[in-house]
Amino acid sequence: MFEYLIMAIFAGFIGSIMGLGGGVIMVPTLTSIFNIPIHKAIALSIMGVVATSVSGSSKYFERKLTNIRLAMYLETATTVGALSGALLALIMREGSLYLIFAVFAFYVCIAQLHSIRNEEKERVVIYKAHVRRVTNKGFFNFSGEYYDEYKETNVKYEVCGYLKGWLISMFAGVGSGLLGIGGGFIKVSAINIFMEVPLKVAIATSKFMIGVTAATSAVLYYVCGVVDLGLVAPIVVGTTIGSYIGTLVMNRLKSRWLALAFAMLVAYLGLNMLFKGLRIIGVMI
């Protein structure tokens, strides 16, 4: 029990300081170190994702950063995606899931390395989002306002790229249901880059959305009997504690070297999943 608790604290902590959910660490660790079947690992991970979202998003409500109306619009896509993803995971063979997870882990690794290189470029995109003027009206108008503590001023923003954002959110939902991840990094980039919403609002809205998306697939895994009740408590409590500690220290810890170490860890876990998947489908002995 305690080894699961410690692993979940670690996964939640690392995920939190890197701005990701713990799923990318949790699923490979549960399958590789604890030899838990991948379907069960995904189901346990998704429970941790619900917990981190429910606990983490409440603080953004306090600061009035979450755009609930926009979140509900995008949730019409992510919940459909999560349901399809979870169904796909349940009918898919173990080997295929390992291979898909390996591809996802390599993608996260490359994205992490890319973000280290392009930090300056991303700042320009975020600034552009802050200075847009509110002009959009009509049915799809989820424009909003928030108080920027750093600038000590109210920031108004408009939302655009509704279709793009909706489609990418659908993809994030499929990923969440299929692999037991939050998919926050996909949602944040969809809301921030494609819908041109300020980054702080994008992060808060995405954090809120993750819980609703994950609960959609979590209930399916739970009803289908995939969730191991004996392991749920340490995983959920551990992930919550880990991500809480992570948010407390993230500003002091985040550095290029830490991001690089995380990218390497994810690459290693991805390789592990790849070899395991290839062994299961019989390509490797």
Binding site: M1, M92, G211, S217
Partner: protein
């Protein structure tokens, strides 16, 4: 009540209640009360998963009260999909393939 405050309260209550039950479950496991541990784990997990469902329901209630048609439409679609997920699981009870 403001929509943000309402969602905040639902999330807080859900999180605290489920964490308390899950901590009791861990305590029972440490003390070797296996059946109690599973029961509290089931309860904690149920509340945790139900929290986002209750939150969407509360958003629907708010949108009806405030006459926000757009929010009512989107949140109702979300709740229908979430309920569909539960229904699919209950009806088909799909066992994972090895």
């Amino acid at each position: 009540m403001e929509l943000g405050k309402l969602s905040y309260k639902v999330l807080r209550v859900g999180m605290i209640t489920s964490t308390v039950f899950l901590l009791i479950s861990i305590g029972c496991n440490v003390l070797n009360f296996k059946s109690y541990s599973d029961a509290f784990s089931l309860l904690g997990l149920g509340i945790l998963i139900a929290t986002p469902y209750i939150m969407v329901c509360s958003i629907i209630w708010y949108s009806i009260k405030e006459g926000e048609k757009k929010l009512l439409l989107t949140s109702s679609v979300v709740l229908i999909v979430m309920m569909a997920s539960l229904a699919v699981g209950l009806v088909f009870h799909i066992a994972p393939t090895g």
